[in-house]
């Protein structure tokens, strides 16, 4: 491997929980501190999210609620341990998790879009077919009912005809 090769950065995502003892503003400043530690260690942040106060699925250190924050960033792999360590050692972050996210090129996004469109059209078609089928079913039901009516009329006619034949003199 050549020395001049640029170290490739990986796309990561970090989700962290801040304890309930802070107010919303304090939690936001703490989220800013997390962002600062990321940037100091050479990360370029691509997306930020702040979910606010949420109920935890289970208590963590007697905290039933927590503030959730999320950052997406690009980073060289070797610097990840430092970030992980500093967050782990800080008493103000309840829990954090860093996950590798697949990088998406423009091609991938375009392909996903095409697939999405195809699926949507297929769904629309299926719905159309379903609606038509329902229409047909209801139409056949109606026609069947009509047939029943006509049949009844037919039976009446038949009865009359039979009576006529029976009453006729030249039966035998």
């Amino acid at each position: 491997m050549s020395k001049t090769k640029k170290a490739e950065s990986t796309h990561y995502e970090i989700l962290f929980i801040l304890p309930n003892k802070f107010t919303d503003d304090e939690a936001k400043t703490l989220a800013g501190w997390v962002e600062k530690t990321l940037v100091e260690n050479g990360a370029t942040i691509t997306a930020t999210e702040y979910w606010g106060k949420k109920k935890l699925a289970y208590e963590i250190k007697h905290n039933a609620y927590g503030y959730y924050g999320l950052f997406e960033f690009d980073l060289e792999g070797k610097n990840l341990a430092k970030i992980d360590n500093s967050l782990r050692l800080s008493a103000d972050v309840l829990r954090h998790q860093i996950v590798v996210k697949p990088k998406k090129s423009a091609e991938d996004l375009a392909r996903a879009k095409v697939i999405r469109a195809k699926i949507d059209s297929k769904k629309a078609e299926a719905e159309k077919v379903k609606a038509e089928g329902e229409k047909k079913a209801s139409a056949t039901l109606k026609s069947k009912e009509k047939e029943k009516d006509t049949k009844k009329v037919d039976l009446k006619d038949l009865d009359e005809k039979l009576e006529g034949i029976l009453n006729a003199d030249d039966l035998i």
Binding site: L15, Y58, G66, L70, R116, I119
Partner: protein, 71 residues
Amino acid sequence: MPTTKKQKECYFCVNNLEVDYKDTRTLRKFVNFYMKILPGNRTGVCSWHQRKLATAIKRSRIMALLSPTHK
């Protein structure tokens, strides 16, 4: 009389979705009442997505988004 079983389709393949550990609403579909991960043959998820799903559920359990038990 032999009944023909309708083949289940993979939820993520059919809808072109990615498995995300933050999306608890979808993850909840693949967990039973006791919050245990359901097998792929019951939910119809393909084996490739089932592997992703299992890790996603475990990740969301760690971040207290999903409960590990039903209590």
